[in-house]
């Protein structure tokens, strides 16, 4: 089926090819999302570890290095 003409259109036709643009878009977007997700999860893990570890206090003083 031919695509419907658009009022005022200055040209018509089908764009051929362009897979290079498609792969670049998906490659860059997925890479950014994966790296950012990994960073967010690493920082979250550190925050949870810090929350669960006992904080230094009078009853629980910080360990001093003996070396």
């Amino acid at each position: 089926m031919e695509p419907a003409a658009v009022d005022g259109a200055v040209g018509a036709g089908l764009i051929l090819g362009g897979w290079g643009y498609v792969w670049v878009v998906y490659g860059v977007s997925w890479t950014v999302l994966v790296l950012y997700t990994a960073l967010a999860l690493v920082l979250r893990g550190r925050a949870l570890a810090a929350e669960s570890s006992p904080s230094p206090s009078a009853e629980n003083p910080p360990q001093e290095s003996t070396s």
Binding site: W19, Y21, A40, L43
Partner: protein, 230 residues
């Protein structure tokens, strides 16, 4: 209950399914051909960015209302994810524009207002790094977020208010059914992923703010030595 891991996992699965569907199963678009497949990631990124920035705006109101560090952390977390998504959106759009419009960039109202959006929310994040006082930072960044958010409805309605190269609003009625399903799955996938990442960031930013609030205040610096003379 920590929802971020299930949300990130579900989002990644849905996004993978939608993108395999959009890249290899869905038909090429009638005029854009295979380049139209970029829209299966570009459109969901745009929708997720606007939703995430809206949450940042709501968090800013919550922060001003309650002065709570939980809301303050949400402002930063959602603004940060919103900036990443909007920057990706601009990149994806420019890569789509080259084969379809013939240029990577043009000062079209939708494109220009979207670029302004990145700069505004980047400004909010920079402001949070500049202001050291936690109470002042909460107030200043919340107000800046509310001001920056004014651009979100302008971005959304830009294609209606001005003459623009960008496509008009689309809906399931204006998109072929073979393309609606992968688009819809990708939209939910991107949204779940973005919310999951923002919640993970919120948890670490909130911990940082609590640590900062618990830290003892530094003593005042000694007065400069008077070396005499006069």
């Amino acid at each position: 209950m920590k929802w971020e891991l299930p949300l990130i996992g579900l989002g990644a699965i849905l996004l993978t399914i939608a993108h395999v569907w959009g890249l290899f199963i869905a038909p090429p678009e009638a005029m854009m051909g295979d380049v139209g497949r970029i829209l299966y990631i570009h459109v969901p990124t745009a929708w997720a960015a606007l939703v995430i920035l809206t949450v940042s705006f709501i968090a800013a109101i919550g922060a001003l209302w309650t002065s709570s560090y939980g809301w303050d952390a949400a402002v930063e977390a959602f603004a940060e994810v919103g900036v990443i998504l909007t920057a990706l959106l601009l990149f994806q759009g420019s890569m789509w524009a080259k084969p379809t419009w013939g240029v990577f960039w043009t000062w079209d109202p939708r494109l220009t207002t979207s670029a302004v959006l990145v700069v505004l929310f980047l400004g909010v994040l920079v402001l949070r790094r500049i202001v050291d006082n936690p109470e002042k930072r909460l107030t200043v960044s919340a107000v800046a977020t509310i001001i920056a958010y004014v651009d979100v409805p302008i971005v959304y309605f830009a294609i209606k208010w001005w003459r623009t190269l960008h496509q008009p609003f689309s809906s399931p009625d204006t998109v072929d059914s073979a393309m609606v399903s992968p688009l819809r799955v990708a939209a939910f996938g991107m949204l779940f992923l973005a919310i999951g990442i923002a919640m993970a960031r919120w948890r670490s930013i909130r911990a940082r703010l609590h640590t900062e609030a618990d830290a003892p205040e530094l003593p005042d610096l000694p007065a400069p030595l008077d070396l005499g003379g006069t």
